[in-house]
Amino acid sequence: MNALAAIGEVLVLLGTFFYFLSALGLIRMPDVYNRMQTSTKSATLGSLGVMVGVGIWALGTDFGSIPWLTKTIVIAVFLLLTNPISAHALIRAAYKSGIPLWEGSVVDKYREHLEAKEREEVEETPAEEGGEE
């Protein structure tokens, strides 16, 4: 047991705590958007903590070496870059497939934007729209 192993253990513990929060957020939040909110953030930082923690932990033990740390850092960076994109794709798909916002939501600028865009398109091509309908 030395300092590096101790730091690694603390990081892994923090990571698992954020994993737990992420799962709890899935239960407690009212709609898909807020659930995505809690699960994305906590799961990303949790994974980051666990992975880098394992890398540092391995440095402090006798079987570990530098390659552990560099590999875990590469995985952590890839995860950091891809996780928000998947969250964005999921939440956008949820909106496009018509899942309503929670009734406590205060403002929806995106619907206004989509409606304004639709109106513009109708005005630009009135004949085609009229013909189809």
Binding site: L45, P67, I73, N83, P84, Y95, V107
Partner: protein, 168 residues
């Protein structure tokens, strides 16, 4: 910023691929380096056209310095985001006040917009729903100001001062 030459874009792709190879193998053995360089050259030849439009201009020292300064700033924002989420999840009354707000950005390049969207998703209480031109539609868990200017000041502007330099 116009497009860089093909050679410069190709070299930049090879450098990035080779760096990833170095991290993955974590060995400075000559044989490892040779095969890594060979593979980076081959993969770079296939992929440089979609990888970057700036080429070696990305390696400008000012940009690298800002990118390095951005890392602790971003990690700090991320930790604050998670404490914020922890507070909202564990608080018995569940203090949320969600909504979708609109923000404007001053960034122009696509990579810059992508990294801004990623940064927004991972920082306190916001998640990017859609990007259309310079408009960002953001699901905000605690809406403090639903005007365009107010939301931009709260959400996008803290990152823009870094990302404007890094990506343009």
């Amino acid at each position: 910023m116009g497009e860089a030459s093909r050679i410069s874009r190709y070299l930049y792709t090879v450098i990035v691929l080779f760096l990833i190879w170095l991290f993955l193998t974590a060995s400075l053995d000559t044989q490892e380096l040779e095969i890594g360089l060979l593979l980076s050259l081959i993969v770079g030849a296939f992929t440089y056209e979609i990888f970057t439009t700036n080429g070696l201009a990305n390696l400008n020292p000012k940009r690298i310095a800002y990118a390095i300064a951005y890392i602790p700033y971003f990690l700090w924002a991320m930790i604050m985001a998670n404490l914020d989420v922890a507070y909202r999840v564990l608080h018995p009354k569940r203090p949320i006040n969600p909504g979708i707000v609109e923000c404007r950005t001053v960034l122009e390049s696509d990579v810059g917009k992508l990294s801004l969207a990623n940064s927004i998703t991972l920082t306190p209480g916001t998640i990017t729903l859609d990007v259309d031109g310079d408009k960002y539609f953001i699901h905000w868990i605690d809406v403090k100001d639903d005007s365009v200017e107010g939301a931009s000041k709260n959400i996008t502007q803290p990152f823009e001062k870094f990302l404007k330099v890094i990506f343009g």
